[in-house]
């Protein structure tokens, strides 16, 4: 699939899911020449030509080359979205779905045309990086795999195929770093800003873990940890209670309370 040439579905992509992820992923697709349609209102994207390629529609369009489902937060919404996509779209249209907080194998069980579904790692703040983790279920067809790989390559991204597991690779590591920092704040080990400062100077992470959590969104971090807890059991992935509070206050620094997703 090439964004600017070819004829299949006029290179339209339909994107649905968590607001932050829909906005970031739509922007990425549009910046690579795709026409993006979504039923959600996207705020804060004032980027001229790129923005013109993003269109709000009322219903799921029939003529898209590919559909992308990016819900991590509320899995009942994800199930509803995937069912609608499966019913509305011709069976030949591949569906790429975030498989961070539920396995793609589980999601395949929610729809009829299971062969068209493939999972990927969607987390806010990661779409400007150069690689996507992907995962397949036992049902995913070779045709789906090759078309989705072509699509991700057309976004100038590398691909790493990992086993289909909750948290995949990066979200599990990153969200546990955020969680550990949140526990340290709760236990008064140091001030939040000081914890980030110490981590920035003492390790070579790109940013302190609390800033990282703020960028990803504490609601997303919590969703990943809760999913790991459900999936793996035990105490290890228990979220710091402070993280739940941060979902409502939207973080430590200069943020408006009460606007949690």
């Amino acid at each position: 699939m090439k964004a600017r040439s070819g004829s299949v579905g006029a290179q339209k992509v339909f994107v649905v899911g968590d607001n932050a992820l829909v906005a970031e992923f739509s922007l990425l697709c549009a910046s690579k020449g795709y026409f993006v349609q979504t039923t959600q209102k996207i705020l804060g994207l004032l980027l001229g030509e790129t923005q013109k390629r993003i269109q709000k529609v009322q219903t799921i369009p029939q003529d898209v080359a590919l559909a992308v489902e990016v819900t991590n937060l509320h899995l009942q919404n994800k199930k509803k979205n995937l069912k609608s996509l499966d019913q509305e779209l011709p069976p030949s249209v591949p569906i790429l779905s975030a498989s961070v907080t539920s396995m793609i194998t589980e999601q395949a069980g929610w729809i009829k045309h299971r062969d068209r579904l493939m999972g990927f790692c969607a987390l806010p703040g990661l779409f400007d990086h150069v690689l996507f983790e992907v995962a397949t279920s036992v049902y995913t067809s070779n045709d789906t795999i090759s078309r989705i790989k072509e699509f991700l390559w057309s976004l100038d991204r590398e691909i790493s195929v990992v086993q289909d597991r909750v948290g995949m690779v990066l979200p599990r590591i990153a969200c546990m770093l955020v969680n550990e920092a949140a526990f340290a704040v709760m236990e008064n080990v140091a001030q939040p800003e000081e914890i980030d400062l110490a981590m920035e100077l003492g390790t070579n992470y790109p940013q302190g873990p609390l800033k990282m959590g703020q960028r990803i969104g504490f609601d997303q971090v919590l969703a990943v940890l809760d999913a790991l807890c459900r999936d793996l059991g035990g105490d290890r992935y228990r979220a710091a209670p402070l993280l739940r509070q941060l979902c409502w206050t939207r973080g430590f620094w200069g943020s408006e309370p009460g606007s949690g997703n």
Binding site: R165, L170, N179, A184, V189, A198, M199, D235
Partner: protein, 290 residues
């Protein structure tokens, strides 16, 4: 209250960290009493500091005159009692509680009453070390990172009885050394070693569960996450034995909190002598250059 920075700093232990701290202190203008029981370790430390300062001259960051002055400020002292002149002592000996308790007991008996006794421990409790002395209010953690001359961070660890004056004095000293101090509570792993645990622990579990290979996990963490190094490259660099020891220490001190549980892969590699770069073999192979 204005806190005067001590002019004479004593350092116990002239290994890699002790030598690095001595260099930093002397560069900031302090007189340094560098103590080690072994004359050869002391000589090695002076050699090392000489080489580092020479490299700084080559890079244009130091002139020859200053180098001579810096070296002249570092006084190798094989006799423990010479530390009595120090206004502040930084202990950088073996990371072993018994060893440190013995040193602190001797420091307490040797040093002036008002002297501050700091430990460069990365994992032991300041409160426990302080309890052996009669001046727990003047015992504090001063955790430098390796290599001490270039790493900017110093964790200033406040023990249960450490006074605010002591904390502030060490904060000021760290600033004088050109470091960025962060004050932390005396708790397992302090901030950096603790908060970094999941970077290794989760990566090891992801590997152990067969979700992705060593190479793929490192590639994902770097290219999808924007990290400069992947967890396995970093473990190889730090030393798998060192990393395993830190993990074990925090795990045991926290009464086996599952988040810090070490992974069997670590133990297996340590037992087999695959310690990372330093042994030529860790998660990756490092062929010896001929």
């Amino acid at each position: 209250m204005a806190i005067e920075s001590p002019e004479t700093v004593g350092i116990v232990g002239a290994g890699t960290m002790g030598a690095g701290i001595a260099q930093v202190a002397a560069l900031s203008g302090c007189e340094v009493l560098l103590h080690d029981l072994s004359a050869s370790i002391l000589a090695g430390a002076m050699d090392r500091i000489n080489r580092e300062l020479e490299a700084a001259i080559q890079k244009g960051r130091l002139d020859r005159m200053s180098k001579r002055e810096v070296i002249a400020r570092i006084h190798p002292r094989p006799d423990f009692h010479d530390l009595a002149q120090g206004a502040l002592i930084i202990e950088a000996a073996l990371e072993d509680l018994q060893v440190k308790r013995e040193i602190f007991s001797r420091l307490d008996a040797t040093c002036r009453q008002e002297a501050i006794l700091a430990t460069n421990t990365s994992s032991l409790s300041i409160t426990t070390i302080a309890s052996i002395t009669k001046r727990p209010d003047r015992v504090v953690g001063m955790h430098f990172f390796n290599p001490a001359p270039s790493m900017k961070l110093v964790e200033v660890v406040r023990g249960r009885d450490t006074s605010e004056t002591t904390v502030q004095a060490v904060v000021e000293l760290a600033k004088r050394f050109g470091k960025t101090p962060v004050v932390v509570k005396d708790s397992p792993g302090f901030v950096v070693n603790r908060v970094a645990r999941p970077f290794y622990g989760e990566a090891l579990r992801i590997l152990g569960e067969g979700i992705a290979t060593v190479e793929e996990i490192d590639r994902i963490v770097k290219k999808e996450g924007g990290f400069i190094m992947g967890p396995f490259e970093l473990m190889d660099l730090i030393g798998i034995d060192i990393n395993y020891q830190v993990t074990k220490s925090i795990y045991e001190q926290s009464f086996f909190e599952p988040r810090y549980r070490p992974h069997p892969i670590q133990k297996q590699m340590v037992d087999a002598g695959m310690l990372g770069r330093k042994t030529g073999r860790g998660f990756y192979n490092y062929p010896k250059e001929n």
